[in-house]
Amino acid sequence: MALDLHAKRVFKQVGTRPPRPDGVDKVTGRAMFGADATAPGMLFARVLRSPHAHAVIKSIDAADALALKGVKAVVTSDDFGLPEDMFARDVQDNCLARGKALYHGHGVAAVAAISDAVAKQALKLIKVDYKVLPHVTDVDEAMKPGAPVVQEGRSEENVGAGLSQNVTTYCEFGHGDLKAGFAKADKIIERSFKTAATHQGYIEPHACLASVTSDGKADLWCCTQGQFAVRTVCAEIMGMEASQLRVTASEIGGGFGGKTTVFIEPIALALSRKTGRPVKMVMSREEVFKATGPTVSSSMDVKIGMTKDGRITAGEAKLRYQGGAFPTGTVTMGAQSAFAAYDLEAVRTYGWNVMTNRPKEAAYRAPGAPMAIFAVESVVDEFCQELGLDPLDVRLKNAAKKGTKSAYGPTFDEIGLVATLEAATAHPHYKAPLGPNQGRGLSCGFWFNFGGNTCVSLNINTDGTVGITEGNPDIGGSRASISLMAAEELGIAYDKVRTIIADTNSLGYNDITDGSRVTFSVGLATIEAARNAIRIMCARAAKIWGIDEDAVVWEDGAAKPSGPNAGDFEPMTLADIAAVSAETGGPIAGHHEVNADGAGVSFGVHLADVEVDPETGATKVLRYTVFQDAGRAVHPDYVEGQMQGGAVQGIGWALNEEYIYNDEGKLQNAGFLDYRVPVASDLPNIDTVILEIPNPGHPYGVRGVGETPIVPPLAALANAVSRAVGVRMTELPMSPPKLLKALSGKG
């Protein structure tokens, strides 16, 4: 659906900042999150988890647990079939281990009891006989031919010989003659980088309530980024037809990609089927860290050639990502993103996905891109230091723009990178003075964005208000943005529209809330649904006036005769037409179903100022500014919120957050005390500058904004810290011990 020809129109609703529709419920505690679901007679379930990083499960004896008063059922992998679909099979095997525990915290058995306390007590009575196996948690170690093999037979056909079976995917992207490119360079820099696995850190732990009836129907309430995807995978695992499993998404306390899959829902369904009673499961925070999906950790090599005046002549990156105990595809996105911000004649990226004895990776905002771009942007910054060049000038000199053949293949259409770089150059932040032990860093960021399957129903109520039903959980304010776009198109006030999220039996299939797709795709479908409703309302007005339908136009929220020849009639507002809808043909609605494409890629630039305490190694972020192309900012508060939230998560990733394993492969910091995310008192205000370069693929020009902002902070912080301490930092997080070590090595 292309950008409207009248895209230069003045918007009346889009671009305003009305109060968020979910705000009152959330601040008063009325909002229903996953753990708030209850049902009469419900049981409480808990999962027994592996104490070992890698172990054969020789036997499970649940007799004593089942004998405990109040225990109603125990399930293990034996209670499930073997789904044909490998994706579903991996999800199932990640919920409860089949034959082998693959990581510390992997589920082994689950119990349902009349109370949470009894369920916890029962877990202690389940006897599991393990044979402990050698383990591997480091990506480079896991690639070696002699490494402990996490799963056999999972490598794709193009993984080269001489590597461990843990390597599941190989990819390569790029174009041009690298050798010739490096030969043109005045200087070549090669560096190796590492980033730690980090967790999305959503505040709400995973929770669900499952109720399976004796006739095979089931209801499932859960916190998820996609109720339809939950239905698909759970129906496959449970051997159910989709229509018999209704999934309702709760309000969601953050997801960031981590709630695009399931970790407990099949267990709750199996226990409910076995007991005939509703079963509730709520993960503890420790379980969230141990047994949900953090992002990948990485080991990377980057080589770049540059002329003395700052033109990049060639770029090469080798990316090795570990995604835990199951195959993942994340490195392909990293390999495509690494050099996306640059217009290069010669570029090549290589990527390997690797299994280790860690929890199965889940998506995390722009999956795969932040670490790859951290490595590339760090080397570009080092060039700027070594050659005495201005970092923004170098980015502008090499920036991708319309007509650039991207590093991942396609030629770019309209993109906003140059505009964001120019905005950063002109901003006072870039010229502000710095003090001792302070440094300034910057980085470009990129994400693809995409659309996907989307359904919207828009109902014109007889009192002149509008109800919209859509199928994507609202994580970042989409209900407000959808209502704004409907109000804009219909020409009515925003507060006359209410948008709700449907369950899986109330609307056609919708893809997950991911890929920065919702404001783009659901917005596009909403605009089209509104236009369908407008066509019906114009037809009703035409009937009332006794003129042809094509002699009626819709302007400012009302049907009007299209000109003097159409007749002289008073305009009929939406409310006027709705009030007589029963008399003119019945209820009025518009709907639209689409697999949306044309999302349009997104670029951003971040500027960060830091101060490093040379005595403690602690880094304080002094000032931070985000510049991003939002296409069209439908509700600027939410756009700014996405930009700020991504920056803060990236700051945590850069400075403190990491999964820490001991020699036995056991996670050492499964809690917010030891896994430290930034809190408000750690941070300055995150300033934002929204650029609006309309996306040609959306009628209002909207681009997704949710993922790009987490991409630049890793390199922006690393570049700022490296300049502050005078040592190039190549490993994240740059926690105080690492910084002290770097400072002591400086001499």
Binding site: E156, N158, G174, F450, G515, N595, D597
Partner: protein
Amino acid sequence: MVQVKIWGSLRHATDGKAEVEVEARNFRQLLDRLSEDYPGLRPQIERGVSLALDGMIYREAWFTEIGPDSEVVLMPFMTGG
């Protein structure tokens, strides 16, 4: 005929060629022809691919028409967070 750009790690299936030519008027035909002419591409096509047409990325769109002068790039299937 449509010129299709192939990403690097799939070139083992195209005799090392970075670009192949197939007879196709839409994405469905293009994927069918690629699978027939280059069977080594089939496992990846079955796992999922995206296609970029004149710079715009399509994840699933069998009937998107391809012009004779269009730029077509085969890409891995996109996922997000």
